[in-house]
Every structure is written in structure tokens, then in C-alpha cells.
Symmetry: C2
Subunit: 325 residues, 2 copies
């Protein structure tokens, strides 16, 4: 079993590769080699099979997709993308990388299959940004694709194409719409969602953290460990039961900021909570208002995708995986 | 006011151009010229302004979109496409023409606007094939894009892109999801839906017509005249109230085959109905089973799109427009 991972140098990509290296198998089949692709060097963790290599490549550049598929990976984890803010600021670049680049991967698979039979599992990292307001509460699997960003549009278009390539038998696609990942390790970033991790991560380390929204803001979360679990499950489920709908909203924890804070209090006490500093940031507050707080991920749940049950669990995962507790 | 029509040689395209030529204006502004594009010669009807030309061009060929937009049409009616069966049989061709070709038109508009401000109304002919089973009855505006054909996928992807280009202010898009057009003038064709027109058109002309499905099959219809009305309305509505959702399911008549037949009986008597011959065609029957029979086109209705009320009206339109009655 050969595996290709794009975006292998990113936060989730690295964790996915570490998990695959530790498992040494996927869906009961031994992993014989992994090709890790990113625009920067992807670390090769201990335990990877010998035939593992890290390639510094932009998957969307001409010819790259064809070269990657000539190795005929059995499973492709396509995590690489440019992020929402970048795609919004750079219209052409967003379509070129997020949409055309991914289409080039699909096409390379299809054309490889024209040489001799080839139909890999293609796991695609999608996003809840395929949905935009106004939306119902919760957002169900049947709700319309209504992105309000170029990033969400590119992902939604790719989801449709993934389904069509799967229906035609050119590949075996599964699209995974990730919740907001929390608690992200590392430093705060410029994403509008950064504070959702920051208000837990920083106080757990004894550091102050800004909170730019009210306690009643509700959002949809899963841990990095769950995200890796989603990708592994997407690679191994029986897609025969999926029919033509190949992209699924992942399960998650629906929680308000207030509930996040109470979970922090339970885990680390009032002293930790006191490190959360209320700040005014109307820009972030307005963006966050456009996000949904609840989903009804019926299909993914039926297909065995699992997230945490509450924020106590999400904090525990962070303490175990990032703080060595 | 300059107008560009692609697919101007097709059945609806010709009727649209005739209507524009008769109206001599669109949204209260005089039409000064029309550019009619199709892969075959588009007829130029009487009454067209002097600056009207018919170009035999494939809009999806390299460079064509740029050339067309250099004339800076105020309204673009994009009706050209390859049909469902062709797109299904010829995968690459379908994406190249229906998707990439339309994207090239969007891009040509955007790049023209980079020279100096330009933001035309872009009316896009979409399809109810953006929806596939299983679906609710009726299908609402909020229902997921779930195409089960490459044609429907290409149209759904284009709808998403039309919304994104509109949101970014590069063009002012309106997508029109057409019902099955009935009664189509002319001869039966190979479309699975051909019989819906045939069982009325042929008996009205005293000719036998095959019926390959049962009386209880329900479908969604509008006349060619209504289709033209949809496009005119799409060109003139105030899109400020639409928000990010730019493509709409058009209103129509939900009717069973049995109701079609009763309308025929009212219009032309038992003798006409007797010309309908029951035939067995499991292939067509299976395809038709995958189609929805009812929609709830709330947004389009609010935006002033209008179809017939029942099949009596649809037959009357055919008699007036095609039989000179």
C-alpha cells in the first residue's frame, strides 16, 4: 500500500503522517511507502517505511500531478491548499491552486487509469466554508452549497467534481469537511478563528490570551487528533454505500465560548480563566457572526466518523498530545 | 445597450433574439446592437438593430471569449452548451465546453474590467440537473447541489463560480435553472424527455406519438415563451436583493403525464388523445424516475419570474406561437 500526502508539512499533515508511521498499516494493509509533498520540507517521522520520501513541490505546478500519479499511490490524502484569507486576497492564485491544482490531480489519476486500471481512494480535505449564511440551525447534509468566500467556492466546486469523477469510476473519492480545529498547537495566527484555540492554549501555558467575541458565540470544533481520525476513516470506509454524495460534514463539538471557558476552568482553574482578556475587535466579531454553530452530520456519523463529545475531551487531547500529560 | 447571445441559433436562443428584436429595448434601454454566437449560423430576425451580427464561433475556443468581451456587451445571455447526453458520453469535451468555456467568458469579463470599469449583467442558462436523487418533494431553494450527471456537475460548478464572480463585483450574474421546456416545436429528438412534448405536439398535428412511461409520472414544465421571459427577467431584475445566491430554480407547471393528456383532450378532443400510443421503454422509464416532479421556487417567484399556471396554458402558447392560432 503506497500513500501520497499533499500538504504533508502542515499541522494536520504532519500529524497524519505520524499516525500512519505509527500504525504501519492502513485499512489492514501494510504501508510500503509514503510520498510527502509540500512547498516546504515535510518531516519524515520515525517509523516510516523505507520507501518514504519528502518532496518540496507545488502540486499545482504544471506536470507535478502527472509525475506524482505515475507512482500509482493506493491512497491519496490531498490536504494542500492556500488558506481562506490568501484565496480571498489573491483571486487568480486561489483558483489556480485550490481548484485547478486539485483538478490536475484528478485528471492525472484519470489519465493514469487510461494506461491500465487504476482507481485510488482520493481523500479530499474540504471545509465548512462551503456553507454560508443565511443557514438553518443545525446545517444538515442536504443544505445547499452556499459559499461566501472564494476559498469556499473553490472547495465546493472541487467537491462536485470529486463526486463526478467518483461516479464515473475514475477515482474513489471522499471529501471531508473539517470543523474548526481546536486546540491548534503553536502560536496564534492571523486567522479570524485563531482565538478559539488561543483562549485555551495560552492560559494552559500560563499566558494571557485575547478574546474578541462574546461568551454566547457558538461554533463547531474537533481536535487535531480527531481530524487525523477523519482522514484515516475516509481512507478506509466502504464507499459503495455513499452513492453519489462523496463529501461529508464531519462530526464535532458544538460549543459556545462560554462553554469553552468553563471547560478550561475545570481543567486548569480560575487562575487560567483569569488570563483570558476581553478585547474589542469588531472586524473579527463580524466575520465570526457569519459562521454556523451547529451541524447535523448524519451521513458522516453513519459512516463511522467520530469526534470528541465535549470540550473537556478536546482539552484532554491537547494536554496528552501537546503537553505530554 | 449592446447584447451578446451565445447559443443564439438554438431553439430558445432564436426565440429570445426574436423577442429582443420585437421589444427593441431591454429594461427600458434601447438595444443598439446584438452579437449572436453559435456553432452554426444564427438567424437575424426582422426588427434587429443595424449593429446586429451573427458569428459562427465556438465560444469555448481559445481567444474567442476575449474577442467577444472587447465589444463590452451590457448584457450577456449565455445559452450555449453541449447537452446532457453528449457531456455524459464525452467527459473531456463536456468539461471543456460547458465548464471551461463558460469560465473563459467570466475571465474575459473580469480582465476587460481590469482595463476600465466594466460589470455586465451575465445571464447564465442553468439546469434542474444540478439536483439529483434522493431529493425532497418539493425541492426547495435550499436543497443541496447533488448532480448525478457530468452535465449537471458542470452547470452546478458554473453556478458557484458565477456567484463568486458576482460577489467579487467582476460581473452581475443571474443563473436561470430552466424547467423542461414543453411543448418544444419541431421533431422528436433523442433526449429522454422528448416524449413530454411529443405526446402533445404530434397529436395536435394529427400524428401518432409514443408514450414510454405511466400516467403517474410527474414532471416540471414551462413553455418556450416562458423560458424567454425568464431570460428577459433575469437581465432586468435588481440583483442587489439577491445577495450571494445568484442561481434560481424557475417556476413551472408540475404535472403528471395523465394531466398532460387531459389538457390535450380539452384542447383537441378524444381523437387527439387516441393518437398517443403506449410503448415499453424501460431505458427511458428508468431515467425519468430519477427526475423530480415538484419544486418550490420561492426566490424566483419573489423576483418576478413567471411561468404558466397549468397545461391548458402551455398548450395554448404552443397553438399561438407555433400553429398560428
Amino acid at each position: 500500500m503506497k500513500i501520497l500526502v499533499t500538504g504533508a508539512g502542515g499541522m494536520i499533515g504532519r500529524k497524519l503522517v505520524e499516525r500512519l508511521a505509527a500504525d504501519k498499516a492502513l485499512g489492514g494493509k501494510a504501508i510500503t511507502g509514503m510520498t510527502l509533498v509540500d512547498v516546504t520540507e515535510s518531516p519524515i517521522p520515525d517509523g516510516c517505511p523505507q520507501g518514504t520520501k519528502s518532496l518540496v513541490l507545488d502540486y499545482s505546478e504544471r506536470g507535478v500531478a502527472t509525475t506524482l500519479m505515475q507512482e500509482r499511490p493506493d491512497v491519496i490524502f490531498h490536504l494542500a491548499a492556500i488558506v481562506s484569507g490568501d484565496a480571498e486576497a489573491n483571486f487568480e492564485k486561489g483558483y489556480k491552486i485550490n481548484f485547478n491544482g486539485t483538478w490536475a490531480l484528478f485528471e492525472a489519476v484519470r489519465l493514469e487509469g487510461e494506461q491500465s486500471p487504476y482507481k485510488p481512494r482520493f481523500v479530499f480535505a474540504s471545509t465548512l466554508a462551503v456553507f454560508g449564511p443565511p443557514f438553518p440551525d443545525p446545517i444538515t447534509d442536504d443544505f445547499a452549497l452556499t459559499p461566501t468566500t472564494s476559498y469556499g467556492t473553490q472547495k465546493a466546486m472541487t467537491e462536485l467534481m470529486l463526486a463526478d469523477y467518483s461516479r464515473k469510476g475514475y477515482l474513489d473519492g471522499v471529501g471531508v469537511r473539517l470543523p474548526t480545529i481546536c486546540i491548534r498547537p503553536g502560536k496564534p495566527n492571523k486567522a479570524a478563528s485563531s482565538f478559539f484555540s488561543g483562549i485555551l492554549r495560552e492560559p494552559l501555558a500560563g499566558v494571557e490570551a485575547p478574546l474578541p467575541v462574546g461568551d454566547d458565540v457558538r461554533h463547531w470544533f474537533a481536535s487535531p487528533r480527531s481530524a487525523v481520525g477523519f482522514f484515516i476513516n475516509a481512507a478506509t470506509i466502504d464507499t459503495a454505500t455513499l452513492g453519489v454524495r462523496r463529501s461529508m460534514t464531519m462530526p464535532g463539538v458544538s460549543a459556545t465560548v462560554g462553554e469553552q471557558i468553563e471547560a478550561l476552568r475545570k481543567a486548569a482553574g480560575d487562575k487560567a480563566v483569569a488570563l483570558i482578556k476581553r478585547v474589542d475587535d469588531p472586524f473579527v466579531a463580524t466575520i465570526v457572526k457569519g459562521w454556523a454553530g451547529r451541524y447535523a452530520p448524519a451521513l458522516a456519523t453513519k459512516m463511522g466518523f467520530k469526534a470528541e463529545k465535549n470540550f473537556d475531551e478536546i482539552i484532554k487531547v491537547y494536554q496528552e498530545d501537546e503537553m505530554g500529560k
